[in-house]
Amino acid sequence: MGRRTALAGRMITVDSVSKRYGRFLAVDDVSFECRAGQVTGFLGPNGAGKSTSMRIMVDLTPASHGTVRIAGHRYVDIPNPGRHVGVLLDASAQHAGRTGREVLTLGAKTMGLPDSRVEEMLDLVALSATEAKRRVRNYSLGMRQRLGIAHALLGDPSILILDEPANGLDPAGIHWMRGLLRSYAERGGTVLLSSHLLHEVERIADELILIGNGRIVAQGTKQELLQTRGAYVRAQEQEALADALARAGVHAVPSGTGLRSDAEAEQIGKVAATAGIALTELRPADGAGLEEMFLQLTADSQRDTTEGVAA
């Protein structure tokens, strides 16, 4: 792999894309950008429109409205696109009767790459010679993902579009993939990866796009999205504190052994001081992290109301 200059160029630009199936709007006016040198996490519950959006990016699904540009180009105008954009849309979408090596060989031949590239990729994703000789029908989902990632990287692309690449990987595999994509982005590559599991992308993504019911519900850097407002406060005279806060017009709800409020710590401290209540703890709410936000943002847009998951 050659050196890459990390510049914050817009490599994927999705502009007001919608996809309608009859009366069902699978993707609803989605716009976002993916920049070079960054990992963008595309997060949402199953059926939120992630896969449809990704298929639209590579021209497998026609958009009903809107455009996608890859570094300013239509995907269809990219010569030999596998050399520029590595795509993994479904690791299980491989001919069950082909061997792993054959799957990569077909890709390499299409892209005009030497056979040695197949061996390099097999090494990279740690598929042994014996495993590469087996037919894909005998692969575990984790092995199929490794094969799919190898296929996406075959043409040494500068952009990766990966749909649920961590699905089926064991914890060691997820750790491996995280390192692989991180160093790929550090060399200047652009990564867009989707997941329906927050903890898979939380650790690796620089930018996050949350999608629910076809619509983007939040997007921004991880830092921006992790910021939580409010404070957590604890006092021995819990009820007196709650009363004082209520009188001061500060909304607070019981949380654990203390109270959680939308107000900032400073304001709560002043209320407590005025009321003469000694606090045992006062700190900015650390929030339940992205997890809570993910649940909040997707709960109302989720297709089926899942029992017990209401945030």
């Binding site: 792999m1 050659g2 050196r3 890459r4 200059t5 990390a6 510049l7 914050a8 160029g9 817009r10 490599m11 920049r35 070079a36 896969s51 298929r55 590579v58 021209d59 497998l60 699904t61 026609p62 890859i70 570094a71 300013g72 180009h73 995907y75 269809v76 990219i78 010569p79 030999n80 696109p81 596998g82 050399r83 520029h84 795509v87 849309l89 479904d90 299980s92 979408a93 491989q94 001919h95 069950a96 009767g97 082909r98 054959e102 077909l106 890709g107 031949k109 299409t110 892209m111 005009g112 590239r117 037919r135 296929h151 043409g155 040494d156 692309p157 500068s158 952009i159 200047g188 590559g189």
Partner: protein, 260 residues
Amino acid sequence: MSTSTLAAGGTLDFTGTRAVPLSRLIGVELRKLGDTRAGKWLLIGIAAITVAVITIFFLTANESDRTFLNFVGITATPQGFLLPVLGVLLVTSEWTQRTGLVTFSLVPHRGRVVAAKVAASLIAGAAAIALALLVATAATVIGGSPEAWSGIGAHSFGKFGLLQVMGVLQGLALGLLFLNSAAAIVTYFVLPTAVSIVAALWTALSDVWPWVDLGTAQQPLFSGGDLTGEQWSQLGVATLIWVALPFALGVVRVLRAEIK
């Protein structure tokens, strides 16, 4: 080895990447014909049956019947059964096995992929015919009748080749139209019989059937002698209905279909 390094301002450097040439795609599609167990056995089966029918004919036919053209002709039916299946599977497996996700993201110009599949299927068909000619030649040399080489002209090869090409193209057409192996193969085998049955029952239209029924229109291709102008026209019309039309509809479907 970096072919696509990032340039300033979020651009891709296309210098050094040329579009995928059709010849390479044809090579890939030819490889797909035989790189699965099913595909490999189908190819082996076609070759084995070709050799087998000529051998059986050689051993059982009267000496006077052991002519080169008879040896070649005996392979027409089994090859005609199996060659179209190659074309069907080459198309439909992209959908039934969902490999189209990879194929069409590597080559977003779907028409080129279809063209490569057509070329690969025809090349495979030509190879099967070449094998038939080779084995038939061997059989004729070993034990042909004294008149074994008579009556051979360009037209005999032409008609034989045309028959197989039509079969392969019809298989491809049905594959493109249904995007489903079972539906395409069943239709390929059942449709001619169904049309013949209707033709036999609907006698009022007996003048029209040679124009509409591909089986009837193809009959002259099996026999010796030249086709009359009318026979050629009938063949053309029937081919238009049963090969060209489904092919065109199938291509339109593939160009428009969502691949998932």
